[in-house]
């Protein structure tokens, strides 16, 4: 998008700049045991670098379509990315969990904008609604203020920042391929229908595109269910068995205190 406006900067340079500044900003933002003015300075610098990195990444991206769709997509994806970074760099465990919830909400928003309604809502139900509430529960009970030293200093900040940024770069390279064509995964369903409707046979778009469009059409949940319980039946069953085993295992661990005849030895008994 910006490549057309600024032909001087090639997309490759832009991506390299994005990856470098992401790594630097993450390293600056991560808690490294600094205090006072030094900490404040590195936070400011890291925040600015992070914004620059975000700008570079947006510039390497592709236009989605209509103005409204693009704005909404940009907002929810920015929420997801910024909250994801904040999850890692926040000092307090409770705030980390809250930022993680925000990141999940952003991801769910992205999925909803792209038409994957079931996945988006399931993300909220499963992660934000169940798992993360459990996390919060435990965090609030265990470390109310998050003052433990191992919470305040991150482990290997440089390596983790570089690894994360490089992974991000490789992913955006392999998904986006730095082409002028928007990647298949990022097409708005209505546009994708139009594209596959007339251009697919001629251009020979892969069958994956047709299938994903099919899944995102109306009666989306019914189609998804048919797909899951048709082509992927064994995977669904295996996952179900795995969950059942986990459930039985957790019950077995909890009831370890029971004696051989199945009665729990009473610690406190009702005295009549």
């Amino acid at each position: 998008m910006i490549a057309s406006v600024l032909p001087v900067i090639s997309p490759g340079t832009l991506l390299a700049a994005a990856v470098t500044s992401t790594a630097a900003s993450l390293w600056l933002l991560l808690p490294r045991g600094q205090t006072g003015a030094a900490e404040r300075r590195s936070r400011w610098l890291g925040g600015l670098l992070g914004l620059a990195a975000l700008g570079c990444f947006i510039a390497t991206g592709h236009r989605l379509g209509g103005l409204g769709e693009e704005t909404v997509f940009l907002i929810v994806s920015l929420v997801a990315v910024i909250s994801g970074a904040a999850t890692v760099v926040t000092r307090s465990p409770v705030y980390s969990a809250i930022w993680f919830a925000m990141a999940l909400a952003g991801v769910a928003g992205v999925l909803l904008v792209l038409g994957a309604q079931f996945l988006g809502v399931a993300t909220i139900v499963v992660y934000a609604g169940a798992i993360l509430v459990m996390f919060l529960f435990v965090l609030m009970l265990a470390a109310p203020a998050g003052l433990a030293p191992y919470d305040r200093v991150s482990n290997e900040p440089l390596l983790s920042a570089v690894a994360g940024a490089v992974l991000l770069g490789i992913l955006s390279l392999s998904i986006g391929r730095l082409t002028a064509e928007p990647p298949l995964c990022c097409r708005v369903p209505s546009k994708a229908v139009a594209i596959t409707g007339d251009a697919a046979p001629a251009a020979g778009l892969p069958a994956v595109a047709a299938m994903s469009v099919d899944l995102l059409a109306e009666n989306h949940v019914a189609r998804l269910g048919g797909e899951l319980f048709g082509r992927h039946l064994i995977a669904v069953e295996v996952a179900g068995v795995l969950l059942l085993v986990a459930l039985v295992g957790s019950i077995a661990i909890v009831s370890r205190g029971a004696s051989a005849d199945g009665t729990v030895a009473p610690a406190r008994r009702a005295v009549p």
């Binding site: 103005l67 409204g68 409770v94 809250i98 919830a101 909400a105 769910a108 309604q117 079931f118 809502v121 399931a122 909220i124 139900v125 934000a128 609604g129 169940a130 509430v133 459990m134 919060l136 529960f137 609030m140 009970l141 109310p144 109306e218 009666n219 989306h220 949940v221 019914a222 030895a265 009473p266 610690a267 406190r268 008994r269 009702a270 005295v271 009549p272």
Partner: protein
């Protein structure tokens, strides 16, 4: 057309959102008045009947009360205690209110309006903010689980033991009752074959059999679970006044407290909407509303009125229950969720799945009418069996004798209790 002008669907959606949010806020204010009237009626007093039109002497049965209450609570000092976590303390009421309002994006508030060609609306306009959302029930479920965050954060950020205990109790209760709630929903979704709430209403209207009659066990489980999710008495442990002052909103005052209270009322309204839409036929009433597409404004209005009347009746039921039942103890609450509601919910789900699976064979074997009767009779048989089993096994019955650890003066109890000796050894 100018790209910056909103398109017609956008305008329609905005109008619906405006109507819905305005209507819900007004309804919440007036439901507080109704609740106080109900309390007064149950307790044989007069209740609020003085405030009428301001600056006049006209009383109007106290209909001005919500306005006065609202003004008063808004004008109160918005006090933030020094020991709270400021960011989360401010965010918690916003989160809970936003989540409980966003739920209504997927909840229909009527059937639909007939086409209005003059405005460019050429097809029936469904009375639902997001008609394209194919996962309506899941959306409701997801956002009601987001509301837990408001409670949990409010309790934690208050940095107060009453608030914290209220938040923990509340989140444990909401998590426990989400499971029977989901099991109740699943039976309906299975029978209607859709996650869209308007399709579920259409399914009940077209057969004429409301799901409360077809799945009595699911209805009971869902009803109890939605009482618990709305944290209404007998499930109002999160803010048990006698034990926890105000629970998670002990430290809140002024407009922030108002947000919490409105959100609580909206939870009750949501529960009433869901009960009516999923189990009591939605806008359908035999012989009055018809079941086909909406052709005239009269039908649209009648359906809207029937739905609203049903919802109001369910809300009145909620309020009557509040003033006639004592509160559960926490162990009773958990026993009810895990030992009664969960097995009954699973029994309902299995019954519905079996009936739906063998319905085509049943129709070919005994004909349409008898198949319908059998499909209703089997769930009722399961309902009575489950009821009797739950009553005879009394899994929620608890030993109400006081628990105390034997002290030195209680030696005789220790001696004549063999198990106690074992523990001591």
């Amino acid at each position: 057309m100018n790209a910056f002008l909103p398109s017609l669907p956008t305008i329609v959606a905005l109008v619906k959102i405006g109507l819905l949010v305005g209507g819900l806020m007004t309804a919440a204010a007036y439901l507080v008045l109704v609740e106080r009237w109900m309390a007064a009626w149950v307790q044989d007093r007069k209740g609020p009947n003085r405030v009428g039109i301001p600056l006049t002497k006209i009383r109007l049965f106290g209909l001005g009360q919500p306005l006065a209450d609202g003004l008063k609570i808004i004008l109160k000092e918005d006090f933030t205690p020094r020991h709270v976590d400021k960011v989360l303390y401010t965010a918690a009421p916003v989160v809970i209110l936003a989540a409980s309002l966003a739920i209504f994006a997927a909840i229909p508030f009527g059937s639909s309006l007939p086409a209005i060609p003059a405005l460019g609306l050429t097809s029936e306009e469904p009375l639902l903010v997001a008609p394209g959302l194919d996962v309506g029930v899941l959306w409701v479920f997801a956002l009601s689980s987001i509301a837990v965050y408001g409670v949990l954060l409010g309790g934690w950020a208050s940095n107060n033991k009453y608030g914290f205990l209220g938040g923990l109790r509340s989140s444990a209760q909401l998590l426990a009752y989400e499971i029977p709630l989901g099991l109740g929903l699943l039976g309906v979704v299975l029978a209607a074959g859709s996650l869209k709430l308007d399709t579920i209403m259409d399914a009940q209207a077209s057969t004429g059999v409301w799901f409360a009659f077809a799945q009595p066990l699911g209805f009971i489980v869902f009803l109890v679970a939605s009482f618990a999710e709305a944290a209404r008495l007998p499930f109002d442990l999160p803010e048990a006044e006698q034990e926890l002052v105000g629970g998670y909103h002990t430290e809140y005052s002024g407009i922030k407290l108002l947000l919490f209270l409105v959100a609580e009322f909206l939870h009750m309204v949501t529960a009433a909407f869901l009960i009516v839409i999923m189990f009591l036929g939605g806008w359908h009433l035999w012989g009055v509303t018809g079941s086909g597409p909406v052709e005239t404004w009269l039908v649209a209005f009648i359906r809207f009125a029937v739905l609203s009347a049903k919802i109001f009746a369910v809300i009145l039921f909620f309020m009557l229950v509040r003033w006639s039942w004592p509160r559960f103890r926490f162990d009773q609450l958990m026993n009810l969720a895990w030992k009664v509601m969960l097995p009954l919910g699973i029994a309902n789900l299995v019954t519905v799945a079996t009936v739906e699976e063998f319905r085509p064979q049943l129709v070919t074997a005994v004909g349409e009418g008898w198949a319908k009767t059998v499909a209703i009779a089997i769930p009722w048989a399961v309902f009575f069996v489950g009821w009797i089993a739950a009553g005879m096994l009394t899994p929620s019955g608890t030993d109400n004798t006081p628990i105390r650890t034997p002290g030195p003066l209680d030696a005789e109890h220790v001696l004549d209790d063999p198990q106690r000796e074992l523990v001591e050894v």
